[in-house]
């Protein structure tokens, strides 16, 4: 794989970072974990801001680090972009000069595309002459992201770029981050402890705990594995991605085709046919029936196969279903599972009560 191969061993007093990861060459990879799980340390290792004695790092075919051969590119020689948790703009430079700081040093100066694209992507063209202390928190973080992009990096590293912002500012920036993913052709490594951000942005997920990789894989795989920390409790959900196949204007109803069939949802706005959508389905919004239900208010009833069951200690059972090629989680009561005689391999019907567009 021509993506990122990162192998590090870095001991700390309270934990040891120990990773051996192959990450995809495009899309957003979320590094997810609680504080102290080593996710930021891993990102800093990739940036060269930490120097583990044992390490190997290859990005898109280029070797950045190999302790066995004594190779270590210092940070300023690695073609990356880095967004820190706090915007960390240079306070003595205005927005334009902040954006140009990295560009002047890359040799891309004569090609204005990277800079223009960054300014346009983040919507900051009206802020260029301002000083950082005259910007809001959200604007500052957008400038910081644009500054990292302006150097035309081969990989974009983001360390909890939303963590220092309030909810409103988060909502202001999230659409820009979604755009980055669809418009950039580079891998984005995104450190976060927020399941919401993972489901909204990530394509690929690495779950870290105490410096070790607990699980890594596509978002679908990792979110729907029954033993994954993301598949526990109220937040357990499935992300369905697909394209709009039809729009019934009379009912404000959008239909989205995905690998498991078709799903309908009411939407205030009309989507164009062919537009990509990303839906979240909470496990608690999926019910199970043994037969296709007639005369029901539930629109979405999809044939499914049970691929796994897990009981918790609170009377609930988590089911993992296959709907076509797509995995879906359903959370039902232990009693229902028992009464219906659910077991692995059984054919059932999944009734999806609600979905939300991300």
């Amino acid at each position: 794989m021509e993506g990122i191969h990162a192998r590090f061993h870095l001991p700390f007093p309270d934990f040891t970072l120990e990773t051996d990861l192959n990450l995809p060459e495009r899309g957003v990879t979320a590094l997810f974990g609680h504080s102290g799980s080593g996710k930021t340390t891993l990102l800093r290792c990739i940036a060269g801001l930490e120097r583990p004695r044992e390490g190997f790092l290859q990005v898109r075919g280029k070797r950045w680090q190999d302790s066995k051969q004594g190779i270590f590119l210092p940070t300023h020689q690695r073609p990356l972009g880095y967004v820190f948790q706090e915007a960390s703009l240079f306070p003595h430079l205005n927005v334009r000069k902040n954006l140009e700081f990295g560009r002047k040093r890359t040799g891309f100066v004569r090609n204005p595309r990277g800079l223009e694209q960054a300014v346009e992507l983040l919507g900051i063209s009206h802020l260029l002459e301002r000083m950082p202390d005259k910007l809001s928190g959200g604007e500052r973080q957008r400038v910081a992201i644009a500054r990292a992009l302006a150097v035309c990096p081969q990989v974009l590293l983001m360390d909890e770029p939303l963590a220092a912002l309030d909810l409103q500012r988060k909502q202001e920036i999230l659409p820009f981050l979604s755009r980055l993913n669809s418009e950039l052709d580079i891998p984005i490594l995104y450190v976060t402890h927020s399941p919401q951000e993972v489901t909204r942005l990530a394509d690929y997920l690495v779950v870290l705990e105490k410096g070790k990789v607990l699980r890594s894989g596509t978002l679908e795989e990792t979110m729907t594995a029954l033993d994954s920390p993301l598949a526990q409790g109220q937040q357990a959900s499935t992300i369905l991605t697909g394209t709009v196949s039809a729009y019934e204007a009379a009912f404000h109803l959008t239909r989205m085709a995905f690998s498991g069939g078709e799903i309908s949802l009411p939407t205030a706005q009309a989507f164009a046919v062919g537009e990509r959508l990303r839906l979240r389905v909470y496990a608690s919004d999926v019910a199970i029936a043994l037969h296709p239900v007639q005369d029901s208010s539930i629109l979405n009833v999809l044939p499914a196969t049970i691929t796994g069951l897990a009981n918790d200690q609170q009377g609930r059972t988590m089911l993992r279903l296959n709907v076509g090629d797509t995995a879906l989680l359903a959370s039902i009561t232990h009693k229902s599972a028992s009464v219906l005689g659910l077991h692995k391999g059984m054919q059932v019907f999944a009734q999806i009560k609600a979905t939300a567009i991300l």
Binding site: A47, G48, L49, P74, T75, H76, Q77, L80, G81, Y82, F84, E86, S88, F90, P91, H92, F101, G102, R105, T106, R147, A148, V151
Partner: protein, 225 residues
Amino acid sequence: MLNDEDFGAILLTLKLASLVTVILLLVGTPIAWWLAHTVSRWKGIIGALVALPLVLPPAVLGFYLLVLMGPQGAVGQFTKAIGLGTLPFTFGGLVIASVIYSLPFVVQPLQNAFEAIGTRPLEVAATLRASPLDTFFSVVVPLARPGFLTASILGFAHTIGEFGVVLMVGGNIPDKTRVISMQIFNHVETGEYAQAHWLSAGMLVFSFVVLLVLYTLTPNPWRQR
């Protein structure tokens, strides 16, 4: 009013203080940088050595420098061996003594300024392709400007005001080592109180103006934030 000897002393003092300030910035900046960023166990020892002139009586410092730089001292032997002769009672000796004497007044404001900047801007600059030296001049120097200003003013003013070290190391040689404070001492010794007054009042006004400038430019020059 002031006579030629007085003007000679003033000129010599300004020359000494300017030269010493330049040397102090060149020497003090790397020391302050190291002290601000090192995790070495030597940090405490080096920090204490640099700060020593703050508490040491100038006469003590001057005495040891005199012994070290004299014909029997280690430094004196070395300077004789490379053909420089011995340094006490020369302008060069005075410069070296003043640099050591005023070092903490330059290192400490710089160290405070560097510590206040922290490591984050340095990391940001590195992720934006700036080499460490590039980062120092394009990020650290602009951000630490108040610290550099404070350090220069304090180093300059403190060198102008020294007496004890000059007395021990420099002596009282016109146009070579006789600085303003020595000249005031001479006037008082010979009962020329009027001229001592002129020079002293000049120093008083100068010192006040320096501190006024310092406190106006930086709200709290001793603890930069």
